[in-house]
Symmetry: C2
Subunit: 542 residues, 2 copies
Amino acid sequence: MKGLMQDWPLLCHKIIDHAATYHGEREIVSRSVEGPMHRTNYRAIGNRARQVAKRLEKDGIAFGDRVATMAWNTWRHMEVWYGILGLGAVYHTLNPRLFPDQIAWIMNDAEDRLLFVDLTFLPVVEAVADKVASLEKVVVLTDAAHMPDTKIKNAVAYEEWVSEVDSDFAWRDFDETTAAGMCYTSGTTGDPKGVVYSHRSNVLHAMAAAQPDMLNLSSRDRMMPVVPFFHANGWSTAFVCPMVGSTMVLPGAGMDGESIYQILTEERVTMTAAVPTVWLMLLQHLEKVGGALPDLENVVIGGSACPRAITQAFQDKYGVNVIHAWGMTEMSPLGTLCSIKPDYAHLEGDDKLDLQAKQGHPPFTVEMKVTDDDNNALPWDGETFGRLKVRGPAISSSYYKGRGAEQFDEENWFDTGDVAHIDKHGYMEITDRAKDVIKSGGEWISSIELENLAVGHEDVAEAAVIGIAHPKWDERPLLVIVRKEGREPGKEDILGFMRDKIAKWWMPDDVAFVDEIPHTATGKIQKTVLRDQFKDFRFPDT
Amino acid sequence: MKGLMQDWPLLCHKIIDHAATYHGEREIVSRSVEGPMHRTNYRAIGNRARQVAKRLEKDGIAFGDRVATMAWNTWRHMEVWYGILGLGAVYHTLNPRLFPDQIAWIMNDAEDRLLFVDLTFLPVVEAVADKVASLEKVVVLTDAAHMPDTKIKNAVAYEEWVSEVDSDFAWRDFDETTAAGMCYTSGTTGDPKGVVYSHRSNVLHAMAAAQPDMLNLSSRDRMMPVVPFFHANGWSTAFVCPMVGSTMVLPGAGMDGESIYQILTEERVTMTAAVPTVWLMLLQHLEKVGGALPDLENVVIGGSACPRAITQAFQDKYGVNVIHAWGMTEMSPLGTLCSIKPDYAHLEGDDKLDLQAKQGHPPFTVEMKVTDDDNNALPWDGETFGRLKVRGPAISSSYYKGRGAEQFDEENWFDTGDVAHIDKHGYMEITDRAKDVIKSGGEWISSIELENLAVGHEDVAEAAVIGIAHPKWDERPLLVIVRKEGREPGKEDILGFMRDKIAKWWMPDDVAFVDEIPHTATGKIQKTVLRDQFKDFRFPDT
Ligand SMILES: Nc1ncnc2c1ncn2[C@@H]1O[C@H](COP(=O)(O)OP(=O)(O)OP(=O)(O)O)[C@@H](O)[C@H]1O
Ligand SMILES: Nc1ncnc2c1ncn2[C@@H]1O[C@H](COP(=O)(O)OP(=O)(O)OP(=O)(O)O)[C@@H](O)[C@H]1O
Ligand SMILES: [Mg+2]
Ligand SMILES: [Mg+2]
């Protein structure tokens, strides 16, 4: 027996229609790439998105074609995003911080036909455009007045391009499992892999993300996604905000502490989201200028483990609640958020910070388990760690072109590559990446836990732990340290600080001081590169 | 091009799994029908639901079979509900307050094979069981100790019945468009019509309903649905609460003001939901005993227009925020909620109450329009009223057995039968039912507006307005009044109070005083019956 309910496919462009209809006058405030602040609203964005779709069609872009964007978070990126979606084409967000060769490889892999690019990234595109055979046109997200000379063939200014048509365009209608967007993973553990979202997965993900125990976004929020739309599907903010009618504040290219502080304050932002490094910059700036954050209520921190010191500073010094989040490009991306359930409502001080160091619990639509290497489920005791596997309607079933097939099993469980434990209330904590975990005498040592501990030392700016081959134990941990400016801690200062705080056999066998730790384009420690740098390293007594 | 995301069907029983896993120890507190309070949690409910499914299967209940419930809101109702769902059978909630003949007709129409019934309603079932040929077994929701003698064939006590099996049962897997539940409309305007929910529609509806601008339910809420599970899909509380992990407080058979007050206070309920008549009873009780509501934060009021006096009393006297809601059995049921968007955040006092008298704005997944009789869309000016039509994934595409086909058009718009206007910010206000609107000289007069005005008079307990045939104007309004106990207002007292507050031609032509106004089983004014009572009425001068 079938239900007798309407066949109303979950299509992303219905989200912008909803926003335009019920939250039409809610503002989208952007720091434009050209400089000045720009203000528009959902009604206007909805209209302009239709215009974009109509104009794309005029360029021959059709259902299923990939259209790339290499752009900051601005209103134009929003218009373009929905224009592509409403035509049934596929948005493909490019990370401009990747190496040009990687970008060219990715664009060729996706066969992007058209590219929208911000002024900032024109040099990047100049370096790759010739290497992408499928690329027919480059639309520069600016107006004629700001259009620079460029050697790129078929480069046009966005405002002139789009103004050739009006906004009288009827969204296309199609199956909800149609591809909506593409995003490649950050490339932390190897080459980026292509993830293909569907309209259904984006919509369901946004519906789950809006809930009170997740992002808790309402029409009264003024949300600033600092996380770029090109990082892991923009943490879905381009969908959640219009779905619930939040005001959007878009920081454009201003990603330094001062710019973030300025826009947070001037636009009375109530909620924001980004990776830890962004917040470190903001906190340093606040410290320097003696700033305050009276309007900000919540900050979402994810992408890498959120250091305890950041959580503490936001909460204790600035009265801003921290929501630690874990996600993956393959999960659309939100997996868990660390909101506080009644089971832990009694926690205070250090105990509360301990809880908030966990990555949190998932919404309905995300299933999790931890298993040993033979796929046996492990207990949820908050200690026993294993491979974290997930399942849900907004989680990849495969990578583009069938890569990485070994991460997917017949029951749809996706192996995240993360190592984690889960406690009895369903709070998950990442202890490592499977590829980064240090295998010492048959047991596992968590590199993340050692790093978190080491950065607690007042003279340490950044820490990374990698496994170094050891004749007796297989692998033993090496601690790599970047010292804070002007500080000169010695090996024993740091090891002494760590001793007694962890099991003896977890203690690093040595400490190496470096000027810089390599990072990925999304700000994560690039252990593949670090391991390569230390490939000839041997421990003193081996 | 297809997305590469998992095929994870939206199935209702995944909701109870999520609750059992991530909110396992969250309580479900019920006033049992036998008397004492009963406490359980989501983990236990999840297990017992599997036991119910396994036991149903032993009785031969299979995929697609209809299984009825005639029960109060208690933990047992929850277990049974999910047990039915997880087997792929179809829950069918029966309204015990309907006439026995109506109940028998509905059960025959649905071909219910098994019925779960609360002790309270055994007499009702005794009156109908023989008339329902498909009915094979009646499970009385109690234990052997409380099992009464009954003449019903094949009646068994629930606890003994279910204990014959263990909870080792694997949920069935099937397409998300499979029928999940049935509920017949309240029968206000004619015979009840069968609505068939799918798993998909229930899940999507719950996801939309949880959002901050809708029910705003989190794991920290203690939610008490006073609205019975059998009224319009229980306003979906049986899905939303476990989805987000709210504590559930279930009032069982205690629906009077005193019982509601007691459980609200003792269980520190933070949010509750019911029709206006329930709240009238509570407010009267509070007044009598000088009560307070320190824990209650929000009360959802819907099913009929919420009188301004109720909103005012909750907010001003008791500090409880009122959320006016509009829904229909056909909409799963939530259509709009009147949360306050930034566009109206400046309103205070009477202006705010005016806004809250509106039924509100819809979540993403509900589309609305108002049209004239020729299906032309009318402007959203907050004045021009017309037929309210809706569209969405949790809205009926047809009634059971194809009844009422004229309410559905080719573009999937469902004609609600309500008359409404919508303002520029998307706030909808019901002005009447299409069948109740008074057609005077080619223009429409809203019966609801006249009723709302009349009950504002201090001597009026209840008011209903119906159209009476008029030789010159086609129809003119007659105001039917129930006086408050001990009060004796005359016709002119009431008309004088109304005059100047509405257009002159809207003024009722006469007032009739009665002892009682007829109500439906869900507490709505039954205008069909009222019109019948006044079918021989003529206005003095006609
Ligand atoms: N809050 C967090 N704490 C710890 N790790 C996190 C957190 N959030 C995200 N991560 C890490 O980021 C990963 C997802 O990142 P992303 O999808 O951007 O690509 P990547 O895994 O870094 O790159 P690639 O898959 O190409 O190697 C997670 O699998 C996890 O390892
Ligand atoms: N907040 C509200 N204000 C005014 N009317 C409301 C409100 N909420 C619900 N209603 C009315 O209730 C109707 C839905 O009720 P329900 O589905 O229980 O059946 P019914 O319409 O009363 O009965 P039937 O369809 O069988 O005649 C709506 O169409 C509307 O007329
Ligand atoms: Mg990865
Ligand atoms: Mg109806």
